[in-house]
Symmetry: none
Subunit: 163 residues, 2 copies
């Protein structure tokens, strides 16, 4: 806020108006001698006036609060060309599959991961231990070059390894 202090115009104008007001006060002081107990009235008046000035100042100087129009892009560039496998309705991209080096068991795990199962559920489903599933998924992530199961799902679907 108030970063646009480069606009000296307003500053100068403000200073001038302040000076003018002080002069006015001085004039008033000379004109009608300011009585002591009326001091609060003047103080209040000054307060109000300068508050308004402050508001005006702020509204003028504060840069038009345009709040960041953010455009986010996610570029996803395949590192290796996806060997075309013409498919009509739904079929696996065998080329991508073999090239990735994913074993049958790993593919099974991948499918179950994509289906939304936890590692424990997968272990139960495949009648293997939890650790085994972890090993498979770890190898899977290596072969798919991803870090998370959600990424694995996304990439595998994009490569048509899974529907």
């Amino acid at each position: 806020m108030l970063k646009s202090l480069a606009r000296y115009k307003h500053i100068v104008g403000y200073g001038l108006s302040l000076a003018a007001l002080l002069v006015l006060l001085r004039w008033l002081e000379l004109r009608f001698i300011i009585i002591n107990n009326a001091f609060q009235v003047y103080a209040g008046a000054i307060a109000v006036i300068f508050t308004v000035l402050g508001v005006w100042l702020a509204l003028r100087l504060s840069k038009p609060k345009i709040n960041t129009v953010v455009i986010e892009k996610e570029l996803y560039i395949e590192k290796e060309p996806v060997a075309a496998t013409v498919t009509g309705d739904f079929a696996i991209n065998h080329t991508a599959l073999t090239k990735s080096g994913i074993s049958p068991r790993e593919l099974e795990v991948l499918r179950l991961i994509a289906a939304g199962h936890s590692n424990q559920e997968i272990a139960d489903h495949l009648y293997v231990s939890l650790n085994t599933v972890k090993t498979h998924s770890s190898n899977l992530f290596l072969k798919l070059d991803v870090k998370r199961r959600t990424q694995a799902i996304e990439k595998a679907k994009r490569l048509s390894i899974i529907p």
Copy 2:
């Protein structure tokens, strides 16, 4: 400008501070009798103080004129086209969306989850805290009636809430 006067808090606080200052002045007046020619000094002080207050007030009350618009795009660039062109022709199932009661923000989180991002990454993308993302995703799981993010992805895709 200053439309949001409903926020009485600030107004009240401002009024109180004004009152406090007047009291202070009164006290000063009693303490050291205010000399006539020192009046300008006090006036100046009041002016400065209330200018600052005014600026503060304006900055607090003035609301941004233009709303923030966050546009997210996901571009997939692949060297060779993969099987079916699923990307171009996707229609959101608005019925399922509204029926699920998923809020715009939650949908945003859902998209990023499906894109394979971690909660921290999502937080960074949306400029919110990790906890917020967790809250959103938790609510998301409730509304989708799932237990894991992978399930959420699967279900959301099945309901055509996300491509």
